[in-house]
Symmetry: C2
């Protein structure tokens, strides 16, 4: 079989869903929407930014003069701590309360930066803060899952260019996490080994989709990647969640993040937008031995700094579809990686 030439589908072992791959399709002309490119250099402090140190936020609170990382409760949280508890099934109308805590994390006081231009030492501080949040939020009885993520770039719905991410923690497992929980459990129960670790070993033997490696982490384009330049950071040791990282591993995780985010910026010579997120063990008090934490990057750009991949019609009603193969993406990322 030739996966670089013919339309085919690939199976995502984590979500148990398929992605349609159309390698021959990247030749089609594009007359559609063009995104704006922002190349202007931002100031290191912006008095209108509600995330900069010392500034006042929309709700009237004043940010401290923070020096590295700053975490606070989201002023417009999607999840409420105080929702009353209910579960209703009225025939085919099924609803349940969902309680939660939403946090915002500023990665740096420097308004002009992004993870891509921070050094691994500074990113390590972000990793440490994520770790603390995962642990502290997880301690609440009513919090059973902590979703850490970042939306970078206005094309990814980000409304403020200040380097920051979010943490939404909640009572139940969101859809994507529930799927991965199930697949990893099925595999672990059957094989007594981590699904992702076995997958990683295959990728290490094949060497076709690996972009970067250090002592603890591998950055690769998963075989079933959906987004044009989607990547995944996977630990080489069986770590269920980031709470288990030791000091060295924290740094090595930061190094992997630094490597891939700065490579992204090179691909189209632009501050590359993406959504990134960490999937890890629920904080439900169970052992969750089957979990293997990983961080994924979903960057939308396809052809240039201004033309993105649209996940629309067919993708919404059918399956996700991609135009370049995972292997072509690996080549491109490796070319630009320093």
């Amino acid at each position: 079989m030739n996966l670089q030439e013919y339309s085919h589908k690939r199976y995502n072992i984590l979500t148990q869903e398929w992605v349609l791959v159309s390698p021959h399709r990247s030749k089609r002309p594009w007359q559609g929407q063009q995104e704006k490119v922002v190349r202007e250099k931002r100031p290191t402090h912006d008095s209108n930014c509600y995330l900069c140190a010392g500034n006042t936020r929309a709700n009237g609170e004043k940010n401290p003069n923070y020096k590295d990382v700053f975490v606070f409760n989201n002023d417009f949280a999607a999840l409420q701590k105080e929702s009353p508890d209910f579960s209703e099934e009225d025939g085919l109308l099924v609803a349940q309360s969902e309680r939660g805590i939403c946090r915002v994390i500023c990665f740096s006081p420097d308004h002009s930066k992004s993870l891509a231009d921070m050094n691994p030492d500074d990113i390590t501080k972000v990793v440490k803060a994520w770790k603390t949040e995962y642990q502290t939020l997880g301690e609440h009885d009513f919090i059973n899952y902590v979703q850490i993520f970042e939306n970078k770039g206005s094309v990814m719905g980000c409304s403020n260019p200040h380097p920051h991410g979010q943490i939404w923690s909640q009572s139940t497992l969101p859809n994507e996490v529930a799927k991965k929980d199930k697949s990893q459990k099925q595999y672990f129960d059957k094989n007594k080994r981590s699904l992702l670790l076995d997958y990683l070993k295959q990728e290490q033997a094949k060497k076709e989709r690996i972009i970067f490696e250090n002592d603890t982490f591998v950055v690769l384009v998963p075989f079933w990647a959906v987004w044009p330049y989607e990547t995944m950071i996977v630990p080489k040791q069986h770590l269920q969640h980031i709470g288990l990282l030791n000091e060295t591993q924290e740094y090595l995780f930061a190094e992997a993040i630094s490597k891939i985010t700065s490579a992204y910026d090179q691909i189209f010579d632009t501050s590359f937008p993406y959504s990134a997120g960490i999937h890890q063990a629920p904080t439900n008090g169970k052992e969750n031995t089957h979990w293997h934490f990983h961080m994924s990057f979903y960057p939308p750009l396809l052809r240039s700094a201004t033309v993105k991949k649209f996940m629309v019609g067919y993708e919404m009603f059918g399956s996700p579809q991609r135009d370049i193969t995972a292997e072509q993406a690996v080549q491109r990322i490796k070319e630009v990686m320093s």
Copy 2:
């Protein structure tokens, strides 16, 4: 329980997934990306448009002087008819060939129109063409599913404003269809009744989410809607696919489409972008009695003609999330409906 006030989740009986609803969140300020509004009136014929009658397409073929609907093979098809047949499982790397035929359907020769400003009689011609395509494509041995859809507006990845839709037909069931196939089958096997018909009866009794009704169709906002103004057209009779529509029903389907698309244009006084699609019985030669066809509209706009809902970070890694409730959307659509 008060579904208009507290964060909660609702269950989609068709996909068996959840949507997170945050009714309190629509108050948050927006400083993020603004979409372009296109209000300029387009000409009825554009010599640069590769879909207008008589014009030459990117691949050199010339369009006929069509008078109503025109269907042709996609010049840059994502699915190929000639892909070799394979199914490979190399450990955790699983891939399969996917063969298919992709078609483009021009709804009208009039470049300035959209479904929203076509009358039910003209939309009936589109319905008839969909019906023919569903039947003809479905007759191929290697085609087991026919996905009819439309991407409207550049924000939905549409690269040409000429009124048109697409049809991607293929060998296997795409993810979303496989989910709905499973749920409808489970329900039908257990209850010997159509899942969607039972749901419809509940909605008809409640009258809270119904927008429009004629003799054969109901337009409603499903209880589990994800997109701010998402709607669904459901037949009141148990029809597995559009191939079963008689002449009257074809017209009544067109009327329902006309009603909802023209209402959309009123909400923010703009040509409302969306992706729409029909989910219906596979063309796999089986009975598929459990299927109940329906057409869904996924419009992205949230606050105005320029501010859309972003399905990013949390939505990609967790679950889809919405800020206004389904019931609030119903109120708004009914207000503007003529």
